[in-house]
């Protein structure tokens, strides 16, 4: 039996909204410690990894590890019916369940329950090693979203370079080119603070289309953490409260000799 209640249902809704354009189908991997999602987009260029630790739920119970295959578009349809302050309770059987049951409860008067049909998903799981990154930048999530959106008018590939003075986003296209530099600072206001920790400067090229998909997670967190090392995928992480995160990995575009 898997059963878990999330007091603030909005969070789960925001997670599904953040990933549904990138992945159609994915497994909710439930274990004693956490609920996790890991999935690549259909082109195998990017990867989404969500982790919600058991501590973030009330009444968490998971008797044995289980993979619940969901279609994100259908999940999103059901979550449209979630009230603003509703909690969500998830329930599923242990032995190859056909449905995931969700209870939406708001106040004392209304309880809604929904069954979402589950599916078998053959997904290739990737093992992501826990390696340190050369550059890590923490900045305002809205700001990052704006930059990615704005730069798309210039071209489709963005060079992100991280150095001592800050993090620079550059795009070169047919109509011209542009750079946006974000300097590190130690604003009192946490929202506007930009912290950069780095060993060596790093410069990589990425497809803006995918970065734009990632910023769909902006409602989940006030700040975003961007980690880069030479010749490996960038990580764009949005912390979820103090009990989880949603991380997006994007493979760089490589200069061919």
């Amino acid at each position: 039996m898997f059963e878990a209640q999330m007091q603030d249902g909005k969070i789960f809704k925001a997670i599904i909204e953040a990933i549904k354009d990138l992945v159609q189908d994915c497994n909710l991997d439930c274990s004693e410690e956490e609920v996790a999602i890991q999935s690549m987009d259909s082109a195998h260029v990017s990867l989404v990894a969500v982790r919600l630790s058991a501590g973030g739920f009330s009444n968490y119970r998971c008797d044995r590890p289980n993979s619940l295959g969901i279609n994100t578009a259908n999940m999103s349809k059901i979550l449209k019916m979630l009230g603003k302050d509703d909690s969500i309770t998830f329930k599923a059987e242990d032995e190859s369940p056909d449905n995931l049951t969700m209870l939406f409860e708001g106040g004392k008067t209304t309880i809604a329950d929904f069954d979402l049909k589950l599916m078998d998903i053959e997904a290739e799981q990737l093992g992501i090693p826990d390696t340190p990154y050369q550059c890590t930048v923490q900045m305002n999530a809205d700001e990052f979203q704006r930059i990615v959106r704005d730069l798309q008018v210039l071209g489709d590939t963005c060079t992100i370079s991280c150095g001592k003075e800050g993090i620079r986003f550059s795009v070169t296209g047919n109509i011209g080119n542009g750079n946006i530099l974000i300097r590190s600072n130690d604003e009192q206001n946490e929202k506007d603070r930009v912290t950069i920790t780095m060993d060596e400067p790093v410069e990589l090229n990425f497809a803006l289309r995918y970065l734009n998909f990632f910023t769909k997670a902006t409602p989940l967190s006030s700040s975003v953490i961007i980690s880069m090392s030479p010749d490996v995928p960038v990580v764009v992480e949005y912390p979820i409260e103090d009990f989880g995160h949603i991380k997006f990995y994007l493979a760089p575009k490589i200069e061919e000799d």
Binding site: N27, V45, L126, A251, E256
Partner: protein, 415 residues
């Protein structure tokens, strides 16, 4: 063509080796494509004419067929646009052992020619269509046209010493390409690590027929065979290089190989069973052996070695050339336009648009998007794997049950 019934046998006995994949997921992959197979498909598929009207091959002003050029040009551009890197492999000389198969194909063509004549006399459009499609043949000219086209497009062209499937499989084994793209199941017998089938855009909309990816390692693991045993199984199923034992179907062939391990050990078991007919050239005449001169030695060896051993040898030691450099170059726009517009008679506007697309794809490929799986290794997800296995088993059980029920029904209706 290929190995008879292997695709079905694999989907029944080793379903884990077959995956349906989306076209998008192939981006960045280098794929060695069997050019003859592709040309042949275009000759059949690319035709003008609406329903109830006789479909005609596309031709230029001189009446030369251009269907294959049209097909090859457009599809290759779409491949490149999706980020796929195609390498086209052309057949070299046909192995001697294939002459029997080729003779059979010629016979079929002769028949189709006769039927076509008859159909034309009767003015039956459906029949004319059917038989003229059967007459389609990828000849020398068609091959040369495509080589020239591809070179102008900047796509690598490889000339195989012998069979294209064997060359493609060897390139794949050597790590020069990621997969072999052909419909021919032979490629698996040549042990290509990955075989891609149905690599077209035609069936993208209908969800039923997707691109199929077959994994060689999982295939032989699923069948529970070694590589040598798998090759013997393919010969028993029926390959292009020799006849097979009449009366042994795929299920029996698999059972026999699993039990006995090789054709040599199976032969004594099936030789005297009346319902099986072993081809004469599988059991060589020992008598002729003595009277051979040196020149005839080679020919004699061929005559005295059982046909299946020769076929097996072709699968194991095929002449291939993996010392090749694969480079995707800038397309030669001017030359290409000349070829397509002046010689093949294509619409200049359309050719121009397509060449623009080709250039764009080439530019995009200069700074290619890396794939996620080239950085992180695929690991297993035990919970999901267990579920998948269970589902496959359930499906198999259901299929068996259904087959049994069908048999029962048939039996009843007969009575």
């Amino acid at each position: 063509m290929g190995i008879k019934g292997l695709a079905k046998l694999l989907s029944d006995e080793a379903p884990d080796c077959i995956r349906e994949v989306e076209f998008k997921s192939l981006h960045g992959r280098k794929i060695a494509i069997d050019a003859s197979m592709a040309i042949y498909q275009f000759l059949i598929a690319v035709r003008s004419g609406g329903p109830n009207q006789q479909a005609m091959m596309l031709t230029n002003a001189d009446g030369e067929t251009t269907s294959h050029i049209q097909g090859m040009f457009n599809r290759t551009i779409r491949f490149l646009n999706e980020g796929l890197k195609p390498v086209f492999v052309f057949d070299g000389k046909a192995p001697n052992m294939k002459s029997g198969e080729l003779e059979k194909r010629r016979e079929k063509r002769r028949k189709a020619e006769e039927e076509l004549k008859k159909a034309k006399e009767e003015e039956n459009t459906d029949e004319i269509d059917k038989h003229s499609k059967r007459l389609a043949r990828a000849g020398r000219k068609e091959n040369e046209d495509c080589k020239r086209l591809l070179r102008l497009m900047g796509v690598p062209v490889i000339l195989a010493p012998m069979e294209a499937e064997a060359e493609a499989a060897a390139l794949c084994k050597a790590g020069k390409v990621w997969a072999t793209g052909t419909e021919d199941m032979d490629a698996l017998t040549f042990a290509t690590p990955i075989l891609i089938r149905k690599l077209t855009f035609a069936n993208q909309s209908s969800k039923g027929a997707q691109i199929q990816s077959m994994n060689y390692k999982k295939a032989i693991e699923g069948l529970g065979l070694t590589h040598d045993q798998f090759v013997d199984l393919c010969i028993l199923l029926g390959c292009d290089y020799c006849d097979n034992i009449k009366g042994i179907g795929p299920k029996t062939a698999l059972k026999l190989i699993r039990e006995h391990g090789s054709i040599e050990k199976i032969l004594p078991v099936v030789k005297d069973v009346p319902k099986y007919t072993v081809p004469a050239n599988w059991i060589p005449d020992e008598k002729d052996k003595d009277e051979t001169t040196d020149e005839e030695a080679e020919a004699a060896k061929e005559a005295t070695t059982p046909a299946y051993v020769l076929a097996r040898d072709l699968f194991h030691n095929h002449e291939v050339d993996t010392d090749v450099e694969l480079k995707w170059k800038e397309p030669q726009a001017e030359e290409l336009t000349k070829f397509l517009v002046d010689e093949a008679g294509f619409n200049p506007e359309r050719v121009k648009l397509q060449i623009e697309k080709l250039k764009k794809a080439h530019a995009a490929n200069r700074k290619p998007q890396a794939r996620m799986d080239s950085f992180f290794k695929v690991v297993s997800n035990p919970a999901a794997d267990a579920k998948r296995k269970k589902r496959l088993e359930n499906e198999r059980a259901k299929k068996k049950q259904k087959a049994a029920e069908d048999r029962k029904k048939k039996g009843k209706s007969k009575r």
